[in-house]
């Protein structure tokens, strides 16, 4: 029971993080920018295919996803520092909010949980 709960939480975080990026993709697709949707659909497809293929490839896909979102968060943090210190642009300043900070922390937590989860095969 304890073991399964331990695996449910990372899986839940994993699914939510994928859905967040898919939402971002759809959001921008509605604004005629399709790159975020293409990339998020590619990732989701890769995860789905690897899940169907084998537990080992699914485990690898989760690691890849973890490193991807860590990179995304790092770039966002660097950008936020640049915005505060150098780029005094109104629109960019609006990007620094508690909601965005919470999102970054959530994704970093997801990446941590995914990297910590051992392959059960």
């Amino acid at each position: 029971m304890k073991n399964s709960t331990l695996h449910v939480i990372p899986s839940l975080f994993f699914v939510v993080s994928l859905l967040l990026f898919l939402y971002k993709g759809v959001e921008f697709a509605l604004l005629d920018s399709y790159v975020p949707l293409i990339i998020s659909v590619c990732f989701a497809s890769y995860v789905l295919v690897s899940k169907l293929r084998s537990a080992r490839s699914f485990h690898v896909a989760k690691k890849v996803w973890a490193y991807t979102i860590i990179s995304w968060c790092v770039v966002r943090i660097i950008l936020a520092i640049l915005i505060v210190t150098t780029l005094n642009e109104a629109y960019l300043l609006d990007q620094i909010s508690w909601a965005n900070l919470a999102l970054t922390l959530f994704l970093l937590m997801t990446a941590y949980l995914l990297l910590k989860t051992k392959n059960r095969t």
């Binding site: 920018s33 790159v35 990339i39 109104a90 629109y91 300043l93 990007q95």
Partner: protein, 296 residues
């Protein structure tokens, strides 16, 4: 008899002059109030600058209330827009903002619309009195003058753009909206940095006017004894409309040392020059109505 006529003439002249002075003073006071409110000059005003989303929302509401108070119906064009490139779309949220607009409908049915616009946002840490609270005040001045005209052969759409300081996003989205709605746009007149005249030469700059608009503004300036400086390029919201293929003109003052600085305050706004700009734009817009009436 002659003396009586002379006194009547002088009295009438003085009355007319005092009326004109009063009218000008009233309009100037009205414009001063707008600039004061929008730039945080008035102590009660919460708007110290108009750059963050919250500040821009407050400003949009201020303009909306001002329009309602003046008896106009208000439309809000709320938008979301992609970033300048797809990589940024991956990292950032979309742009979002609100263009506020009102239409002064023609008194004689017309399918043509003249757009008159000015942006209401500012850069961070700047009160933005000259850039561009003065432009907003100019629009209100023109709007009040045009509403009193009995015969209007064209619709006038007054639009207060959001996010000019962020790559002219507000006007870009608005120009796309006009195209999508297939609105018959006669011409687009954009005002920016409307109240700076560095060397007090009273020269008004006209940027990239379409041929008809160049002729129109030259005619109007001649009539009002105003000197124009006509130059190329596109440096404000007029760029969005120029690129979208509309007949466009930018009406500007000088680029001052206060531009995008914390010193862009109420005290550095030249309200006499703003009145001159209001005269030029409103007279040009009346001429468009007359030209269209004559064509019919």
């Amino acid at each position: 008899m002659h003396e009586k006529l002379f006194i009547t003439f002088i009295t009438s002249g003085l009355f007319a002059l005092s009326f004109l002075c009063q009218a000008t003073e009233t309009e100037m006071t009205y414009q001063q109030t707008i600039v004061s409110d929008m730039s945080g000059h008035r102590k009660e005003s919460p708007l110290l600058s108009r750059s963050t989303k919250l500040e821009r929302q407050l400003t949009a509401t201020y303009i909306e209330n001002k329009l309602i108070k003046a008896g106009f119906s208000v439309n809000k064009h709320e938008y979301r827009y992609r970033n300048v490139n797809a990589i940024l779309d991956l990292l950032l949220s979309p742009h979002s903002g609100t263009n506020v607009y009102t239409t002064l409908v023609a008194t004689q049915a017309s399918e043509h619309t003249v757009i008159i616009g000015a942006h209401y946002d500012s850069v961070p840490d700047s009160p933005g009195a000259g850039d561009n609270a003065a432009g907003v005040a100019l629009l209100f001045g023109v709007l009040n003058r045009l509403k009193d005209i009995e015969n209007r052969s064209v619709n006038y759409l007054f639009v207060f753009f959001d996010q000019e300081e962020d790559d002219e996003i507000g006007s870009k989205v608005f120009s796309e909206k006009l195209i999508r709605e297939k609105m018959k746009v006669h011409s687009v007149h954009v005002s920016d940095i409307s109240a700076w005249d560095n060397n007090k030469d009273r020269i008004i700059s006209i940027q990239s006017p379409a041929p008809y608009l160049e002729d129109l503004y030259v005619r109007t300036a001649d009539e009002l004894s105003i000197t124009l400086d006509i130059f190329g390029g596109a440096s404000s919201d007029n760029k969005s409309f120029l690129l979208a293929g509309f007949n466009t003109v930018g009406v500007f003052g000088d680029v001052s040392e206060h531009h995008h600085k914390p010193t862009d305050t109420y005290e550095n706004v030249d309200f006499v020059f703003l009145t001159l700009m209001t005269d030029l734009v409103s007279t040009a817009l009346v001429k468009i109505s007359e030209d269209i009436a004559n064509e019919k």
